[in-house]
């Protein structure tokens, strides 16, 4: 791992990637990140896993993504999306896609973790891309305050300041982040699934991502000091609650107050 991280800081790596990136004009999944790239070393997977992954891919994914994952009209090429993208898309159940729509929805996961790793192993051989995140960044023991600030600048506009989710254009949405595993959060940041922008390691460092994950873990675990959070949706849910529940109770009291006893 140490060798890897040294290698990825090699000055030529960035240049090589820039050239590569300009050449790759294929699907938007074909994202090559400067800094994640060097980590994407397929040697972390066994050839056994790659073979199993290819079988699974041909049986389950090739209909849309094409043989050799070169892409079809129904699905983009997967060359260079990296193992992290597979782990996120398949691991959260977004892939295989249930149906075409504004965006892929989370649903029950179709493959067990081993199979997901095998698929990731196979796709990682197709081109360099973000690798599976290192465990040291997923422990949720970073600085929650720094993470919170990064989250508000980079993430809150779509996911809401309390990570409760939000709307995008034409039926798309940024999901709520409660219940998402640390690994999937990290993978989403480095791969930019669907309409989410990519936050490569030059934009938010791995330590920064760790801080963001720590922040999200913290606010999810601690809950709201004031009681039920009403979905953390802000003034709309507060107003709705007031007009229905609170005013309802008050009206109940006024009716009781002005009625005659038997």
């Amino acid at each position: 791992m140490k060798a890897l991280s040294q290698k990825r800081r090699h000055p030529l790596a960035a240049v090589a990637l820039l050239v590569l990136g300009l050449m790759l004009t294929g699907g938007l999944y074909a994202v090559v990140t400067t800094v994640n790239q060097a980590k994407a070393d397929s040697s972390t997977f066994t050839s056994e896993q790659v073979q199993q992954g290819e079988k699974l891919f041909v049986a389950n994914c090739a209909t849309c993504h094409g043989l050799g994952a070169s892409g079809t009209g129904n699905g983009p090429s997967l060359a260079g999306v990296g193992a992290a993208a597979v782990s996120f898309q398949v691991g959260t159940g977004r892939m295989p896609l249930q149906m075409q729509g504004p965006q892929a929805r989370e649903k029950p996961v179709q493959f067990n973790p081993d199979q997901t790793t095998e698929l990731a192993a196979y796709v990682a051989t197709l081109g360099d891309g973000p690798a599976l995140p290192e465990a040291q960044y997923l422990d949720g023991k970073g600085d929650a305050a720094v993470g919170g600030e990064l989250f508000r600048v980079n993430c809150a506009m779509c996911h809401n300041a309390a990570a409760a989710g939000g709307a995008l254009t034409r039926g798309k949405f940024a999901p709520a982040l409660a219940g998402v595993s640390n690994q999937h959060m990290y993978e989403a940041m480095v791969t930019g699934p669907q309409n989410m922008p990519v936050f490569n390691d030059a934009n938010i460092t791995p330590e920064g991502k760790r801080d963001i994950i720590t922040f999200l873990n913290t606010i999810e675990k601690q809950g709201s000091p004031g009681g039920a959070a009403l979905g953390s949706l802000g003034p709309v849910s507060e107003g709705l609650f007031l007009w229905t529940a609170v005013l309802g109770v008050i009206i109940g009291f006024t009716v009781w107050l002005t009625s005659r006893t038997s």
């Binding site: 919170g148 300041a161 922040f215 039920a228 709309v236 507060e238 005013l247 009291f253």
Partner: protein, 558 residues
């Protein structure tokens, strides 16, 4: 009091002595004689004004507590309190002190939540109270001025709410202020100047929080208090209105005496409102400023909305398209001195809907008075169904408001009902125009239908659900006639007729008069006349006479 021969009053108990001491100096017995047994009608819908008043008292109490700890300064500081996810961050002193109130002052969080929930309830109660007054016609002579005072109170309470919402200097309220700044800058000629004077320079500056604080804790509450005093004074002068019913008319007021029953109920109700707000604050978070973070002009959170009472203006801003059929709504007008910008896409939604709503709200008593030429005092309310056109106008206005209100949460509607954000906006744009019209038509028809049902019940009694088989095999449902008291409630209303224009002294029907006649037709053309004694009597005789008529309508047995 002019008699002098009486021996001076000698109080016997110590309480009596103290009371007498005060009375001799301020003359309280006269007041007590006047008000001690003053009669107040009792109805649940009359309580919303009290809810508003009590919420305001709670706001004063909790707000006073908050001022002891809040520091409205925009100086920079670094947070060092106990909320871990914000530790060490740069923020304003105002935000820092709000966090301290929430996390480090014991009871501070509950007071903040009580204050904010009470604020939401205050404006809501004012609104519902005004809706009640409108739909029951309580704004009619002699209460038009009090209606205006109420409208001013509504505006003041919105202003009070907004200034308070902005004080913590968190990300949510800061972006709210930025929107306000954007709207202010759209004002032609003076907009930029107002913005610079308000913020003490460029947005956000370092002055706005302390300036809003002054408005929030001094100027606006003082104005609200003054208006409340005027409002209540006029209630005492006018005496309360009452719903129609047996024994109630424009010359009397029927209800419970202030002491003891009404005072006990009203006084007890204060504690109930306080208790409900306290319980809500115990279990439900409001305005979790620690989630939003300190204000910074660069970040923003999804779902950035104002508190509910400003929502309709925000919704109007959202609904307005910037381009209408490829015509931009921002105009660059060439003047001799240069080109100036008129930004209608902001000005129109910010001013026009609010302008319409408040103009109609303030003018309505006079509009109706002009149309009906009714100069009598009204102390008996209309049941909403018995004034179908007024009710329909109110419903149309309410829907107009609600469409904009809903638009302020278009993004949440989209995510929660899994529809496209853009479609929600398109639908609401259509509803903005169609909704009030549909609401008007439907509610007017519903009112007329209810009136007809009342008439039916007054004349023929209630359906008992008891089916009887007559000797010749026919089945019919028995109807129970109402007693006189219940019937009077259904028939004791006025149903004015549409008026033709009245010629002036020269025998000419003026244009204004023609317009009045047109409005009068609009108001009163469709009407249900109240059932009359004659019809009831005729109905009973009729039954006997027409027993074997074409429809063989069965006779009520009661």
């Amino acid at each position: 009091m002019s008699t002098t021969a009486q021996t001076p009053f000698e109080p016997k108990t110590s309480t009596g002595r103290i009371t007498n001491f005060v009375d001799e100096r301020v003359g309280g017995s006269g007041m007590l004689r006047e008000f001690g047994r003053k009669v107040f009608p009792d109805h649940w819908s009359f309580m919303f004004g009290e809810v508003a008043l009590y919420s305001f008292v709670i706001l004063l109490l909790s707000g006073t507590f908050l001022t002891l700890f809040f520091d409205p300064s925009m100086a920079e500081t670094h947070y060092n309190g106990s909320y871990v996810p914000l530790k060490g961050l740069e923020m304003s002193v105002a935000y820092d002190s709000t966090l301290n109130i929430s996390f480090d002052v014991r009871g501070g969080l509950i007071m903040r939540q009580v204050h904010h929930w009470a604020a939401l309830l205050f404006v809501a109660a004012v609104s519902v109270h005004m809706l009640r007054v409108f739909f029951t016609g309580a704004f009619r002579k002699p209460r038009e001025l009090n209606w205006v005072v109420g409208g001013v109170l509504l505006i003041l309470s919105m202003a009070e709410g907004f200034t308070g919402y902005s004080l913590p200097d968190d990300l949510l309220s800061g972006n709210g202020l930025r929107i306000i700044d954007g709207v202010i800058m759209a004002i032609p000629v003076v907009g930029t100047y107002i913005s610079f004077f308000l913020f003490g320079g460029e947005f956000p500056g370092t002055a706005i929080i302390s300036r809003l604080y002054m408005f929030h804790i001094m100027l606006i509450p003082a104005m609200i208090l003054l208006m409340i005093a005027i409002h209540l004074f006029m209630v005492v002068v006018h005496k309360h209105t009452q719903y129609p019913g047996p024994g109630r008319n424009d010359r009397n007021v029927v209800g419970y005496p202030l002491g003891p029953v009404y005072a006990a109920k009203a006084g007890g109700f204060f504690f109930i409102v306080f208790g409900v707000i306290a319980l809500v604050s115990a279990f439900f978070t409001i305005n979790p400023i620690w989630n939003y973070g300190p204000y910074d002009p660069s970040p923003i959170s999804a779902g950035t909305q104002p508190d509910w009472y400003i929502g309709w203006v925000d919704g109007a801003l959202r609904l307005m398209p910037g381009w209408l059929f490829n015509i931009p709504l921002e105009w660059h007008i060439p003047f001799p001195w240069g080109v100036n910008t008129l930004t209608l896409n902001v000005l129109l939604p910010a001013l026009v809907p609010a302008g319409i709503v408040f103009t109609l709200l303030f003018a309505y008593p006079w509009i109706e008075r002009w149309v009906t030429r009714d100069d009598r005092e009204h102390h008996v309310l209309d049941r909403p169904r018995n004034a179908p056109t007024r009710t329909a106008i109110g419903v149309a206005g309410f829907i107009f408001y609600c469409v904009m209100w809903a638009a302020a949460s278009s993004d949440l509607i989209a995510t929660h009902f899994e529809v496209s954000l853009n479609d929600v906006t398109y639908w609401l744009r259509a509803l903005f125009f169609i909704g009030p019209i549909l609401g008007f038509i439907i509610s007017k028809r519903v009112s007329l239908a209810l009136q007809r049902k009342d008439r039916e019940i007054a004349l023929h009694g209630r359906e008992t659900g008891r089916i009887v088989r007559l000797p010749h095999g026919e089945y019919q449902e028995m109807h129970a006639q109402l007693d006189d008291y219940k019937r009077y409630k259904l028939v004791g209303y006025e149903s004015p007729l549409a008026e033709e224009g009245i010629p002036n002294e020269n025998g000419i029907v003026t244009k204004t008069e023609k317009r009045r006649a047109a409005l009068s037709r609009f108001f009163f053309e469709d009407r249900v006349a109240p059932a009359t004694q004659a019809e009831l009597t005729a109905g009973h005789e009729h039954h006997e006479a027409i027993e074997a008529g074409e429809e063989a309508k069965p006779v009520s047995r009661y």
